[in-house]
């Protein structure tokens, strides 16, 4: 048997699964095609809610820490240790200890915890790497702390902040595939319930999730360009180009 052909065969079937609904493996239920839309919708909702919570928590803390430069080591260490806890354990933990909370929110909170560390770390590093000259100049002009954060540090840190958000979004989109284990039907359902959706469903859903991650990355890059002030774009020159290509930001992100 030619493995290459079998490989392609599975892929062909997977694409068919993505575009056309079919009987489930043992019959009786419809899977694939338009049946994927509710799963996709839930997937987007979980991802959006988790990212919203994560950004709302991590971004202000990251900016404040970067601005003051205080307590950074402790906070970022704690948040990084959080990354070591497997998401599946987090989800199981939340479902077990908050059984009355709707599963959707348990999963969302667990995913938000997963999304916080990259955003927090990048926001912190992003603000710290803002040229001290620029901050001093702003202070010399009589700007208050809040004004400095809003008008100087935040715009200059944007490339790194978006780097963190993009990393987290992709993580969350990929990890949301385990949500069906606790009854939240995301695109992970075909992957987990292989006996219902078949191999085509497993591969097909994986393809859709991968595409979703790529699209999210592209969309966020567009948002980043839209919100970056023109002055910053011109001024940053070479380093901004490097970070837009994703080389710089990803490297820095690992340095807390």
């Amino acid at each position: 048997m030619s493995t290459t052909l079998a490989f392609l065969g599975d892929f062909g079937d997977a694409f068919d699964y993505i575009f056309h609904s079919r009987e489930s493996q043992a019959g009786g239920a419809r899977v694939g095609g338009s049946e994927l839309l509710p799963l996709l919708w839930t997937h987007l909702k979980v991802t959006g809610a988790a990212m919203g919570i994560a950004i709302a928590i991590a971004l202000p803390i990251g900016l404040a820490l970067g601005h003051t430069g205080r307590g950074a080591f402790a906070t970022i260490s704690v948040s990084n240790v959080g990354r070591a806890v497997p998401s599946i354990a987090l989800i199981a933990f939340f479902v077990a200890f908050f059984p009355r909370t709707p599963e959707f929110w348990n999963v969302t909170v667990a995913l938000a915890l997963l999304a916080i560390p990259p955003i927090l770390t990048n926001a912190f590093v992003g603000v710290r790497q803002v040229s001290r000259d620029a901050v001093d100049a702003a202070r010399g002009m009589g700007m208050s702390g809040t004004q400095i954060v809003r008008s100087v540090e935040l715009p200059l840190a944007l490339p790194l902040i978006f780097g963190g958000i993009k990393t987290s979004t992709v993580n969350v989109i990929a990890t949301a595939t385990i949500a069906p284990l606790v009854g939240v039907l995301t695109l992970g359902d075909p992957i987990i319930s292989g006996t219902v959706h078949g191999r085509a469903g497993q591969i097909g859903a994986s393809i859709v999730v991968a595409l979703l991650a790529v699209l999210a990355e592209l969309a966020l890059s567009a948002v980043q360009r839209a919100v970056t002030p023109t002055g910053v774009k011109l001024e940053k020159g070479a380093s901004a180009r490097a970070s837009r290509l994703g080389t710089l930001k990803r490297r820095i992100q690992t340095v807390p």
Partner: protein, 328 residues
């Protein structure tokens, strides 16, 4: 496949770890009842035959408590009969387990007659025999066509059941599954992912009873009682031999249209395996199963799920307490 199995295991582990904490305080002390020994004392002990040591058997099971206990009981019982035993007791669902037997990954695993007829042999819910023996004969014939042997079944049956909390039953006046008519559209049903395509599950409720639920949510099968007690599910699909039914005061709705077929457990293996293992295998399995009644199986499941004992230990207790092994 591999990944999903790993995830399930991880989740099951995490859930069971957390279960201990969650249930620790509100569980009343359970009197340690003993699986009742047959007073006739007919069964006697499993006899060791050293010649069997040359036969190596890998006992498998699906991924829930009862299956693990059964797997352990067969494994330890057959070990006592002298066989060389390996175990692989967490094989996911029925399709995974059957594939493992066919591929030789495992030698045998316990399967329920009803599951086999519906899931493997394409029976419709309404064509299933109501008589356990008849169901076994049909399943056996089906397996035979695949080159597999199904040993005689256990006395206990472990079918799916439609469970609601006592409050829900009282409030809506539910006694039978038919009573759900006209009310199900407001109720949330939880079941395993496979439930969606099983005629003794969601599909049967839709086709045999004509019920439509507000929402069906597939979850990991380990959560079938938790979803009820936490109030997330109005209706959950559970098993007859689940010990939680009594402890949590759940109400099983009577299957008045006969949707659930008999689910006695039968040990399934390849014909070559059965031939190689010889007559001692069937004899030992028969001895082992003699005491596996509904009550005893419930008790054994309770010891694992509620008393947090290891399936291996519970299996050993069963074999010792029924006098199959140990003693003099």
């Amino acid at each position: 496949m591999k990944l999903s199995r790993l995830l399930l295991v991880l989740l099951a582990l995490a859930c069971s770890a957390v279960f201990v904490a969650a249930c620790g305080d509100d569980e009343e002390e359970q009197p340690a009842s003993t699986p009742s020994q047959s007073d006739s004392g007919s069964g006697g002990k499993i006899e060791r035959n050293d010649a069997n040591a040359e036969v190596s058997l890998t006992i498998g099971s699906k991924n829930f408590t009862e299956q693990k206990v059964l797997g352990e009981i067969y494994a330890q019982g057959l070990e006592a009969a002298g066989y060389s035993i390996n175990k692989d007791l967490n094989l996911g669902d029925q399709d995974t387990a059957l594939a493992a037997v066919k591929s030789g990954e495992i030698s045998a695993y316990p399967e329920y007659t009803g599951t086999a007829l519906l899931a493997f042999f394409g029976k419709q819910a309404d064509e299933l025999p109501k008589d356990p023996q008849e169901a076994y004969e049909e399943a056996k014939a089906g397996f035979e066509a695949d080159g597999l042997v199904a040993l005689p079944p256990t006395p206990f049956t472990s079918s799916n059941e439609v469970a609601v909390t006592k409050e829900t039953a009282d409030e809506l006046g539910l006694k039978t599954i038919s009573d759900l008519e006209g009310k199900s559209q407001d109720l949330t049903l939880y079941g395993s992912p496979e439930c969606r395509q099983r005629l003794d599950c969601l599909l049967g409720l839709q086709q045999v009873y004509g019920l439509k639920f507000k929402k069906f949510t597939p979850v990991d099968i380990a959560q079938r009682h938790e979803v009820l007690t936490s109030g997330r599910a109005d209706v959950s699909i559970v098993f007859t031999t689940d010990p939680q039914i009594q402890r949590e005061q759940e109400v099983l709705l009577e299957d008045d249209k006969g949707m659930f077929p008999p689910y006695n457990s039968t040990l399934v293996m390849k014909k070559e395996t059965a031939d190689e293992a010889g007559a001692d295998l069937a004899k030992t399995v028969e001895l082992i199963q003699e005491q596996l009644t509904d009550e005893n199986m419930q008790e054994l499941n309770a010891r694992v799920d509620l008393d947090k004992k290891d399936p291996a230990q519970v299996a050993e207790e069963y074999l010792t307490e029924t006098g199959l092994i140990g003693g003099n």
